[in-house]
Subunit: 229 residues, 2 copies
């Protein structure tokens, strides 16, 4: 059954920049397009917003379809509405970005054996539409935000070493950090719980594991506490 | 001529939170609604996005219709897409905020003798739709941003005293600032040009006027210079 309106309406979509982290750095999940336009080109996962669906629900639906995970850090990025961004018709897209833990086994299961793959976030293949602009905008936001909000933990497993944590920040900021200074600042935030557990199966001396105190973070954030790194 | 689509489409609008500053503090420009829903209630200026119109163009069009000014600071804020935010139908709105100079005479001319008026931004009348949420979100963004980007100048005339500048920051942050500390920090940014001009027609000792060095700001911002206040 078709729908009729007095004036022409733009189409509304959501696109999601899904970031993950592995040993080689910050990654982004891309989908290879099976049809025109841009057939064969890689693109951000996304789709149309249903008329009865809140925007964030649509973004979480896309995210779950592509990664199998539901409960992750998701934030609205920006709305892109250039008139020529899609050759078919006027499509306005509300872009989100998500941070997922690549150690989550559901992610492997959902993205394996499909036209989805992880690419280095800073050097992706050529992207469809204006998705390169959207990805760049998400990277800029993430880099700006991680300096005053402890987002790095969203990319790590529940228990991690301080070296792993430093690696997250270095991957996001794309530059090396001084180890001593980093540890002083990150421990000074008072958000890490020192565990009585250590790395397993490592050749070097096993490092201590830490966890992130989410409750304490929320309490302090409410009081306007500053987490600048 | 009606337009027909296979699936129902949300309507797309822009709404603009227009901030200005006068002696009594930070103000927001509101429009009184002449029709249902929310007839008689105050609301943010806004309207439908034309199918061939970029989003920012639509926001600038609304802004110009309401204030008579074109070239002002305008930034996309957030897209609000709750399914029940308008009782008529699903309307997704891309919200922007603008900073205008209330000393601009065109603004008085455009808003005089119409159902538009300036209200204290922190204590507006009851607003239509979810506009109270949008206004609050704009205030939060402005307060966060002004701490690391010299936005305050956008609300001032081209020549101003340091007291006026401090007043801008106090109005946005909604708290008093230490005069000595403020002057040290703001002069330390190196963005102010000391003029050989002084206030006119004041009872107290006339203070020196300054102007903002926009070119220098852009050069330094490009280099990643930090303007934290």
């Amino acid at each position: 059954m078709p729908y009729t309106y007095e004036y022409a309406r733009p189409s509304l979509t959501v696109d999601v920049v899904i970031f993950g982290l592995d040993d080689s750095g910050l990654k982004v999940l891309l989908i290879q397009r099976g049809q025109e336009p841009f057939r064969g080109r890689w693109a951000l996962p996304g789709g149309f917003v249903r008329v009865d669906e809140p925007l964030e629900t649509a973004a979480r639906r896309e995210l779950e379809e592509e990664t199998g995970v539901r409960s992750v850090y998701l934030e609205q990025l920006y709305t892109f509405g250039g008139v020529d961004r899609d050759p078919r018709e006027r499509i306005v897209t509300v872009a989100y970005y998500a941070l997922v833990k690549l150690s989550d086994h559901r992610i492997q299961a959902a993205t394996d054996a499909r036209d989805a793959a992880w690419f280095p976030a800073a050097s992706p293949p050529k992207l469809a539409f204006d998705h390169a602009t959207i990805l760049q905008s998400a990277l800029t936001r993430l880099r700006g935000k991680v300096r005053y909000q402890p987002l790095g933990f969203e990319l790590l497993p529940a228990r991690f070493t301080l070296s792993q944590l430093q690696h997250v920040y270095e991957a996001i900021l794309d530059r090396p950090l001084d180890k001593r200074n980093f540890r002083k600042k990150i421990l000074g935030m008072g958000l890490l719980v020192e565990l009585n557990e250590f790395e397993q199966d490592v050749a070097h001396r096993a490092a201590r594991l830490y966890s992130f105190d989410q409750k304490r973070y929320e309490r302090l954030a409410e009081k306007g506490f500053n987490f600048e790194l």
